[in-house]
Amino acid sequence: MTVVSTESVPVKSEPDVVAVRRRVREISAQLGFSLVDQTKVVTAASELARNTIIHGGGGKLQLEALNGPRVGLRLIFADSGPGIPDIELALRDGFTTGSGLGLGLGGSKRLVNEFDILSRPGEGTRVTITRWK
């Protein structure tokens, strides 16, 4: 697999969620994603960006355009927040510690092809998602 381009975007405050959505939309359109696939990956990014801010105390997003053999978009959301004590529980629909609907993690997992979450209490969380064209 070849990473053809990579960039980093801050995910620190609420307006950054809108900026993340815009950038993910632009790149997925450039990669030739269908409108439905663009919408799915932008929505997943919106959920994860909000999680990064609300639960992770802010962090950053790394966007990677992938090519060879398959075209895809990989998004890595990383924060150095408190971490998630029970990942299985956090992935369950309806589970929330914040004011949301508890669909963020489990919901965004359903919207992408690959989903990976790494979290250690006290050290932060890293969520990696990939959507293939």
């Binding site: 809108v18 409108l35 919408t39 959920e47 919901g107 919207l111």
Partner: protein, 129 residues
Amino acid sequence: MEKIPILRMGDFLLVTIQVDMHDRLAMALQEDLTQMISVTEAHGVLIDISSLEIVDSFIGRMLGNIAAMSRVLDAHTVVVGMQPAVAITLVELGLSLPGVRTALNVDAGMELLRSSVNGSRESNDGSIH
């Protein structure tokens, strides 16, 4: 601060969301709209989301809240114009917008509002149930 305009048309309030809303703007709309329903005694709210490119769980929750709050204030809410790609994504995300009534376009939405408002007036009169 940026605001989403709310138009009054007779008994109804009309909102067209044309910007990519950040969370605080969505919260402000929710508050403004409930305030407007109370002030204008509107019986119907039509929200046009045809320009919205995504509806995530936050915006979905806001739409649900608006529908529930307006119901408590004796008004009906209809959300119109959702893009097909948004509908597909929303359902896969796990949101089916319970309690939110939808129509394909503004015309169909207005029709639905009129019949809902007339329907609840009649049942309030006790003449037809």
